[in-house]
Symmetry: C2
């Protein structure tokens, strides 16, 4: 595989860090890949956009920070405004129209998927929005196998909440594949 | 402040990643510091020791990986064996005697605190062991103010679980200060 550099961005509480950790663990534990997952906080993080970086590769990763992501997810307008310019030319920019109105043209494929709306319609729990987003990323990129993600979810998530997380993952996978 | 580089290590499920994220968020949101928090996974992570790095500083952090930690926490024998050699000379090595029997001499202050035992005696829930460890680190180092940690806990942790987390934090703080 090529090295994939990703940035998941949004606001605190949307679960972008958790989604990034689940993806990194899946790659390492079940796909025989290397992964690094980072949060960089700074002055801008105070009241600002949360950012979580993941690099997945089949070779050793030396520098763990993402400068130009191949895949950029923005789940708030603020995150979009702040990060859309860093996308790698030819990369993929995923947003949710509930939270982001694209305003600039970037040299990347822009995909807007109504993930939040579908989660609320079909599951009714905003807490699994991040897992739906993760499903959409994997549906679009085929970075890891969905069954490997399910394994990690089932190890990390209390049993009473597992089903809604699996549903959210499936929802996202289907949405990502539809446009993938 | 001087830049503080930390590595929290243990096995999956001990909560070292969560502890690192809570510490990094506390530093940034309530102490006006910069922080970077990283997980590096690799071949060794499969069935091996989990490692979570945190750097806290009052100036911009460029390289987010920790090579030589000032503070190293090892919560399993395997993590101890793997990471004890990387401690910065003059640093602090924190272990729990329930899980780690020190076997090598390092050029650092070695502190063994029975955090797990105290958590089980006084709270009875192993799930808050990581928060007790975080309290001990802060009790030993004064890196952030305890009330700032409590703010982050109260934002992140569901209300039904908050009290036991605060208890675990207090327990760790007291143990850390006692030897600090």
């Amino acid at each position: 595989m090529e090295r994939c550099r990703m940035v998941f961005s949004g606001s605190g509480g949307q679960g972008v860090i958790t989604a990034a950790i689940i993806l990194a663990e899946t790659a390492v534990l079940h796909e025989n890949l290397e992964a690094v997952q980072t949060q960089s906080y700074g002055a801008a993080a105070r009241g600002g956009a949360t950012r979580s970086d993941v690099i997945i590769s089949d070779t050793t990763i030396n520098f763990p920070k993402v400068i130009q992501p191949n895949v950029l997810v923005c789940l708030t307008q603020e995150a979009y405004t702040k990060f859309s310019a860093i996308i790698r030319p030819g990369g993929l920019l995923l947003t949710d129209p509930r939270f982001v109105t694209p305003q600039v043209k970037v040299d990347a494929r822009q995909v807007a998927l109504p993930m939040y709306e579908r989660v609320m319609e079909q599951i009714g729990k905003p807490i699994v929005f991040n897992i739906c987003m993760l499903g959409a990323v994997v549906g679009l990129t085929d970075l890891v196998r969905p069954q490997s993600l399910v394994k990690v979810l089932s190890e990390r998530i209390p049993s009473g909440f597992l089903e809604m997380n699996e549903q959210a993952l499936e929802l996202g996978l289907a949405m990502g594949r539809d446009v993938g």
